[in-house]
């Protein structure tokens, strides 16, 4: 019966740790939730069981996505049929693709290379194979008028973007 002082101290410590963790999470999420203004839009559409992508300049890709290193991108994610989840594990990108909704998620690839894109929400027969490839490229491909990105210095140094809050 009754309580002991040590129990109060213990509960106090637990609450303090939780507040510390919660506040750190809030602090990080505050930045992750707001994409930088100069970010380029990529439309991501999931359907059973493949991904299609559409760049700002109207270029469409199927099963492959080519991005440029050091440029921030906002993904506008939606689905044509059932729920999917757009996931790039190596870049910690994850957002559900829900039909009738457009969800936003932004990322700035900082290392060139080939990455895995996969579906992380159960979506039926071939859910486990619903993958795509992400290619992060060092330089801008010569196709079309990609003049929006005129920051070659920052590309070479992989200088991170300034995100305004």
């Amino acid at each position: 019966m009754g309580h002991a002082t040590i129990e109060w101290v213990y509960v106090g410590v637990v609450i303090a740790l939780l507040i510390y963790l919660g506040a750190s999470a809030w602090e990080v999420e505050r930045f992750l939730d707001h994409p930088p203004k100069e970010a380029k839009v990529v439309k991501v559409i999931g359907q059973q069981w493949f991904w299609t992508f559409e760049h700002e300049d109207g270029k469409k890709e199927l099963g492959e996505l080519h991005l440029v290193k050091g440029v921030p991108y906002v993904f506008e994610i939606t689905s044509r049929d059932v729920n999917h989840s757009f996931n790039i594990p190596d870049l910690t990108v994850l957002m559900d693709a829900v039909p009738g909704r457009i969800n936003h998620m932004w990322v700035m690839p900082d290392t060139a290379g080939e990455y895995l894109i996969q579906c992380r929400e159960y979506c039926g027969f071939s859910h486990y194979q619903m993958r795509a490839k992400l290619f992060v490229e060092e330089s801008i491909p010569v196709s079309g008028e990609n003049t929006a990105v005129d920051v070659p210095v920052s590309l070479q140094e992989a200088k991170p973007v300034i995100a305004s809050n």
Partner: protein
């Protein structure tokens, strides 16, 4: 009951921690360099440091209790004063 010390502790510890955290959050208003991957994993490692520290303490305490207060421990042969009085 009624001893203010407990309540004071319960309130004081969180308040001190909250303010120590919120101070930089308030001062740091506008711009910051971020890469999601780095931020997320940084937060994850921070959580893991805390989790493993608490876990080590808690597992240590449980291991001690299990070892020290087991029935077969030679220091524990006498019947406790509260046995059978529930």
């Amino acid at each position: 009951m009624g001893v203010p010390l407990r309540q004071v502790l319960l309130v004081a510890i969180p308040v001190v921690v909250v303010f120590s955290i919120l101070q930089p959050a308030f001062s740091q208003e506008d711009e910051r360099i971020i890469i999601n991957r780095v931020e997320v994993w940084g937060l994850f490692y921070k959580g893991m440091v805390i989790a493993f520290t608490i876990g080590a303490i808690l597992m240590g305490v449980i291991a001690f209790v299990v070892f020290r207060f087991r029935e077969s421990n030679p220091r524990n042969v006498q019947r406790g004063s509260m046995e059978g009085h529930r």
